[in-house]
C-alpha cells in the first residue's frame, strides 16, 4: 500500500513518540512527560488516519471515536485510585477486542491475501479475542462481581482441548481460500470462550500477572494486525508493548515464584490444598494496646496489603505514621512485589496519601531489618507474610518470597475477619506467640489508633 507522505510522516512521528514516551515512563522523574509525549503521538497518529485516501464511513468513524473516547475518559476520571488495576484490565481487554474485530473485518472482506498475512491475521485474532474475554473476567474478579474461582472438572484437559480446537480452526481459516462466514464465526466464538475458560479458575492473587500477560497479548495482537493492515506504526507500538509486557510479566511471576505456566494451568483454587494443620490460636488485642505498643517502640515496619487498599486507609495510615514519627519512632513501609493487585499498586496508593518514597522499601531492601523492628504492623496483607511459604513444602504458596514480618519482636495484624488470604491458605504467622490480631476495617482501626496516639 502506497500512502502519501502526509499520512506516513505523522504515523512515523507517532511511533517515535510512543517509544520516547515509554522510555520516559521508566524513570520517576520523566514519567509524566513520557505519558504526555505518548499522548501527543496518539493524537497525531489518529488525526493522520483521517487523511488516508479512499476511506469510507468517515462519519461512522468519528462517531465511534467520540463514543469510545468520551465514555472511557469519563469513567477513567471518576474511578478511585484503589480500583485502578481493574480499569487497566478492562481497557486492555478493549484493545484486544479491537484487534480481534479488525481481523474479523479483514477476514470477512476476504481481502487478506498471502500465507503470512492471513496467518498473522488469524493469530492476532486469536490472541486479541482471548485477551478480550480474559481481561473482562479479570475486571469482574477485581471489581468483586465474580467472587469465586470457577473450576471445571479436568480443567487443564479442557483448556488444552479447547486451545487445540481453536488453533485447528485457525489453521483451516489460513489454508482454506476464502473461508465461509460460518467458519469465521465459529473460530471467533471459540477463541472468546477460550479466554473465559482459561481465566475463570485463576484466583485473585494471581491477577496481576494475568493482567500483565494479557497486556502483552494485546500488544502482540495489535502488532500482527498492523502487519495485515500495512501500518508500521501499529507493528512497532504493538510489538514494543508485547515485548515489554512479556518481560514485565516475567518479573512479576518471578517475584511470586510462580512460573507463568503454573498460574495458567494449576491455579491456586479457593480451598486450601494440603498444608499442615497449624497449632496455637489467634490472639486479639484492642486499638489502644496497638497504639501503645507502637508509640513506645523504637522501630515500626508497616506492611500494607490489599486490605488497606479496599478500606481506603492509606491516608489514615500516613496520618498515624506522622504521629509516630513526631513521637520519635522510626517508621518504614515494606512493600511486597505483589502486594495489592498489581506490582507497584501499594506504592501508588501510598504516594497518593503523601508518603515520601524514601520511607518505602522493597522486599530485598527491608527483609533483613524485621529482626531489629519492635513492631511489624500488617494492614490487610496476608499471603505475603505467611511463613508457611518458607517451610511447608505441601503448601500451595511454598517457595514464594515473603516479608519476614514474623521476625519482628511483636506483630500486629489489622484484618477484617478470620478468613484466609486470596490463596486460601491458613497463615501460620497469625498463630504465633508474638502476634496479635486487631479485627476490623483498616480505616476505622487506623482512626482509632490515631485517637489513642493523640491522647498518649
Amino acid at each position: 500500500m502506497n500512502l502519501p507522505l502526509y499520512v506516513q510522516l505523522p504515523w512515523f512521528l507517532g511511533a517515535l513518540l510512543f517509544i520516547v514516551g515509554l522510555k520516559g515512563m521508566s524513570s520517576p522523574a520523566s514519567a509524566r512527560q513520557g505519558i504526555l509525549r505518548a499522548g501527543v503521538g496518539m493524537v497525531v497518529a489518529v488525526a493522520a488516519t483521517f487523511l488516508v485516501p479512499d476511506l469510507h464511513n468517515l462519519g461512522l468513524m468519528a462517531l465511534a471515536l467520540a463514543l469510545g473516547t468520551v465514555g472511557a475518559w469519563l469513567s477513567a476520571k471518576k474511578v478511585k485510585m484503589t480500583d485502578m488495576p481493574q480499569m487497566v484490565a478492562i481497557y486492555n481487554g478493549m484493545g484486544g477486542g479491537a484487534a480481534a474485530a479488525i481481523a474479523a473485518v479483514e477476514l470477512a472482506r476476504g481481502e487478506a491475501h498471502g500465507l503470512v498475512t492471513v496467518t498473522l491475521a488469524v493469530i492476532g485474532a486469536l490472541i486479541g479475542a482471548v485477551s478480550f474475554t480474559g481481561s473482562c473476567v479479570a475486571f469482574a474478579k477485581l471489581q468483586g462481581l465474580l467472587k469465586k474461582a470457577y473450576r471445571l472438572p479436568a480443567q487443564n484437559v479442557v483448556n488444552v482441548l479447547l486451545a487445540l480446537l481453536v488453533v485447528g480452526l485457525g489453521a483451516v481459516l489460513v489454508l482454506a481460500e476464502n473461508a465461509g462466514p460460518g467458519l469465521i464465526l465459529a473460530f471467533f466464538a471459540l477463541a472468546l470462550l477460550l479466554g473465559l475458560v482459561v481465566t475463570l479458575p485463576i484466583g485473585g492473587a494471581d491477577m496481576p500477572v494475568v493482567i500483565s500477560l494479557f497486556n502483552a497479548f494485546t500488544g502482540l495482537a495489535v502488532g500482527f494486525e498492523g502487519y495485515v493492515l500495512g501500518s508500521p506504526a501499529l507493528i512497532i507500538a504493538g510489538i514494543v508493548v508485547g515485548a515489554a509486557g512479556t518481560l514485565l510479566t516475567q518479573l512479576m511471576a518471578k517475584a511470586m515464584n510462580r512460573p507463568i505456566s503454573n498460574i495458567l494451568f494449576t491455579p491456586i483454587s479457593g480451598a486450601a490444598q494440603g498444608g499442615e494443620a497449624i497449632a496455637g490460636s489467634m490472639k486479639e488485642l484492642g486499638a489502644i494496646d496497638a497504639a501503645a505498643m507502637m508509640r513506645y517502640a523504637q522501630k515500626v515496619i508497616i506492611v500494607p496489603g490489599y486490605g488497606m487498599a479496599v478500606a481506603h486507609a492509606q491516608h489514615k495510615v500516613w496520618e498515624m505514621t506522622e504521629l509516630l514519627e513526631e513521637a520519635g519512632v522510626e517508621v518504614k513501609f515494606a512493600i511486597h512485589p505483589v502486594a495489592g493487585r498489581m506490582p507497584g499498586h501499594m506504592n501508588v496508593l501510598l504516594a497518593e496519601a503523601g508518603v515520601p518514597y524514601d520511607k518505602i522499601f522493597d522486599l530485598e531492601e527491608i527483609n533483613a531489618e524485621f529482626g531489629q523492628a519492635d513492631v511489624a504492623l500488617i494492614i490487610g496483607a496476608n499471603d505475603v507474610v505467611n511463613p508457611t511459604a518458607r517451610t511447608d513444602k505441601s503448601s500451595p504458596i511454598y517457595g514464594m518470597p515473603i516479608l519476614n514480618a514474623d521476625q519482628a519482636q511483636n506483630v500486629i495484624v489489622i484484618k477484617r475477619g478470620k478468613g484466609t488470604g486470596y490463596s486460601g491458605v491458613e497463615n501460620a504467622l497469625f498463630y504465633t506467640d508474638n502476634c496479635r490480631m486487631l479485627y476490623g476495617d483498616a480505616q476505622p482501626m487506623a482512626g482509632e489508633i490515631i485517637q489513642h496516639l493523640k491522647s498518649m
Binding site: 515509554l22 509524566r32 465511534a64 486492555n92 484493545g95 477486542g97 474485530a101 507493528i235 506490582p343
Partner: protein
C-alpha cells in the same frame, strides 16, 4: 509491505521493548503496565483503517465496534496512567515531612 522488512521491524521493536523495561524501579511497574496499555491503544488507527474499508453492514458494524473499543483503550489508558503518574510529580510531596 515487503514481508521481510516487516520481520526486521518485528525484531527491532521487540528488542526496543525489552530494553526499555529492563531497568525500571518496582514503584513504576503499575504505571508502566498502564502506560504500555495506553500505547497499544494505537489499535484504534488500525480499527479506523478496517472500518474505512468495510463495505457490507456487518463489516461496518464490526468496524464501528473496533473503533469504539480502540478509542476507549487509548482514552482510558491515557487518563488512568496520567492519574497514577501525577502522584509521582517530583517535589510535590516527596520528602515532605521527615521524622521528628
Amino acid at each position: 509491505m515487503d514481508g521481510f522488512i516487516a520481520i526486521y521491524i518485528f525484531m527491532l521493536a521487540a528488542f526496543t521493548g525489552y530494553e526499555i523495561i529492563a531497568r525500571v524501579p518496582v514503584i513504576l511497574h503499575t504505571p508502566l503496565m498502564s502506560g504500555s496499555n495506553f500505547i497499544h491503544g494505537v489499535v484504534v488507527v488500525g480499527a479506523m483503517l478496517a472500518l474505512g474499508r468495510a463495505e457490507t453492514p456487518l463489516e461496518q458494524a464490526i468496524g464501528f465496534f473496533a473503533v469504539a473499543l480502540g478509542a476507549a483503550n487509548a482514552a482510558g489508558g491515557y487518563v488512568v496512567t496520567e492519574r497514577m503518574l501525577a502522584m509521582f510529580q517530583p517535589g510535590k510531596r516527596a520528602g515532605g515531612k521527615e521524622g521528628a
